[in-house]
Amino acid sequence: MILVNELCKSFGEVTAVDGVSFEARDGRITGLLGPNGAGKSTTLRVLYTVLKPDSGTASIDGVDVVTNSLEARRRIGTLPHGSGLYPHLTARENIAYYARLYGMDCDAIDGAVQTVIEQLDIDEFADRKTKGFSQGQRTKVSLARALVHRPQNLLLDEPSNGLDVMATRALRDLIRQLKLAGRCVLFSSHVMQEVAALCDEIVIIAAGKVALHDTPDGIRNSMGCEDLEEAFVKAIASVGGL
């Protein structure tokens, strides 16, 4: 479970996140939706502890990300934006490296890596060096890397970026499986359809503020439009994000 409370973060003059609060519960898929530069990535970066918030708090399974960042990081799997692999290592080695750094038992690593390789269907290129991988292949390996230690919480920053239709569908299936397994999935996107197809709850962020937090149906109702996209535009306009 992820709890965000009155989070603020600015870089010099620019305020990226301005009092964001929301909750992402276990067994649910929560989508962070917003236009480019709305503060989605900054929020996620605070959650996976590479940025420290100026004020406000955030916790993962009740563990504070600032005061106990190491413990918080143990409970998450992350797919940062533009996640890079090591080109001279094979896909399997890339995943195993992360498994070791997550502190998994040496004996358990091989099995866990194989499991996640099968789960993500990357058997075919698992033993090739990742240099020259397609965007889809790279995203799959990055995702496998984030899942290898079976984290309770998953933070995905625009995971479907650069994926083709088939790969996107596979990714959605995987996210749904994780939800059924009781995990907490939080992902950001600027693609309306994707969020609508997948999420149980949507947090619309614009100009560093939460414009709306509800289920897809709830958002349609509160904005008074049938079309989710129309509702999205209205919600953003309400906080001056357009």
Binding site: L51, S83, G84, L85, P87, H88, L89, R100, L101
Partner: protein, 392 residues
């Protein structure tokens, strides 16, 4: 300790597969330096050795004015050749570099000579040119010898012992040993080794910071439940390993190349046997920590791989600085100087090549001082890695 080992092993495997790192760590630094060194030394030795036997071409203006002098010079392996027409033309020819040296015997030479008045001989040369200096020194030596010979003949004719002209007998005793003389030449060796050592870890140091950031693999790495200190320690240790490898290769390759350099012909016997190679390795090895942490530190400040390369190349020059200052000031090894990394290694290495006994206190201070500076830089790197701005 587990994460440090995981990072270390990953970096080693990763870089062993990287052709760029391998090329610079195992080929460029270790082999390029010694081979270049041997080539240059060989060339300059050949030149300075052959010059002594070669006849010197000496243009003399007014050779008919002093036939005996000319005959004497020719007996000293000097070829008298035609000189420019006039004194002015001769000066011009030396200035323009057409001749290194021109000797002028004035028309009054014979007259002065007969009257036992000092007869003038002019030597025109350019003292700022090194090749001309060697030639003019040879010509002047021959003229001085002729002068001395004539003087003692004149004294003998007058029944005076020529020894009266030499109240002092100056005898210079050279206490330098053959290995000591070679140390002058091999003094720059320590820089070759330090250079090879640094090149060995250069790519790794850049890759570990600027490279990771540029590839986008830094952010996921930092979101792992590993302390950043441990990440950076693993990376620095991996760079140390490559530097150690590079160092041992360059020592070995120099040991081999030295067999092909005719230093004996210059009366030098470099003390560079297998045991010295091992000791030199042990003396230089602590510097890897300074090199690795310094390069990592510098690379952490930069935004891209290319920028990092530029700045880290500057670090390659850093160890020359103390060595340069010391060789200009001609400082002798002292305990205080042993605190300075690169300088202490240089001084100890020179002593080693001179075949002097190792001063254990100096060795101790050098190792401890170098590790201390290395540790400090490593700590600074770790501090820098904790910054938020690291992601750029």
């Amino acid at each position: 300790m587990m994460p440090i080992r995981a990072v270390f092993q990953k970096e080693v495997i990763d870089n062993f597969r990287d052709r760029r790192t391998l090329l610079s760590a195992l080929l460029m630094g270790p082999l390029f330096g010694p081979i270049l060194f041997a080539f240059v030394i060989n060339l300059s030795l050949k030149q300075s050795l052959s010059n002594i036997d070669e006849a010197l071409d000496l243009p003399v203006l007014g050779r008919d004015n002093a036939p005996n002098l000319i005959a004497y010079l020719e007996s000293r392996n000097i070829n008298i050749i035609d000189a420019p027409e006039s004194r002015d033309a001769a000066m011009g020819a030396v200035k323009s570099g057409r001749h290194d040296i021109v000797v002028i015997v004035p028309a009054t030479f014979g007259e002065d000579f007969s009257a036992t008045v000092p007869a003038t001989v002019e030597v025109i040369s350019d003292q700022s040119s090194t090749t001309a200096e060697r030639e003019s020194r040879r010509a002047l030596r021959a003229l001085a010898a002729y002068n001395a010979e004539l003087a003692s003949m004149r004294l003998s004719l007058r029944g005076v012992s020529p020894a009266i002209m030499r109240p002092l007998n100056i005898d210079v005793v050279d206490v330098s040993t053959p290995s000591g003389r070679s140390a002058m030449l091999l003094g720059m060796l320590s820089y070759f080794f330090l250079f090879a050592l640094l090149t060995g870890g250069m790519n790794l140091a850049i890759d570990a910071t600027a490279g990771e950031r540029e590839r986008g693999s830094l952010e996921p790495l930092l979101s792992l439940p590993v302390k950043r200190d441990q990440l950076i320690f693993g990376k620095i240790f991996a760079a140390c390993l490559f530097m150690t490898l590079s160092l041992s290769l360059s020592l070995t390759s120099f040991f081999v190349t030295l067999k092909f350099v005719p230093l004996q012909e210059l009366g030098m016997t470099p003390n560079f046997g297998p045991d010295v190679v091992v000791i030199a390795f042990l003396l230089l090895a602590p510097f890897t920590l300074v090199g690795a942490s310094l390069m990592t530190l510098v690379a952490s400040f930069t935004r891209s791989y290319k920028e990092a390369q530029t700045w880290v190349s500057v670090v390659l020059l850093a160890p020359t600085l103390p060595i340069l200052i010391v060789s200009i000031l001609q400082v002798r090894a002292s305990t205080e100087l042993m605190f300075i990394p690169s300088l202490s290694q240089h001084l100890l290495l020179v002593g080693l090549i001179k075949n002097e006994p190792l001063n254990l206190l100096h060795v101790l201070v050098s190792v401890a001082g170098t590790l201390l500076v290395g540790g400090l830089l490593t700590w600074l790197c770790a501090r820098l890695y904790r910054r938020e701005g690291l992601l750029g």
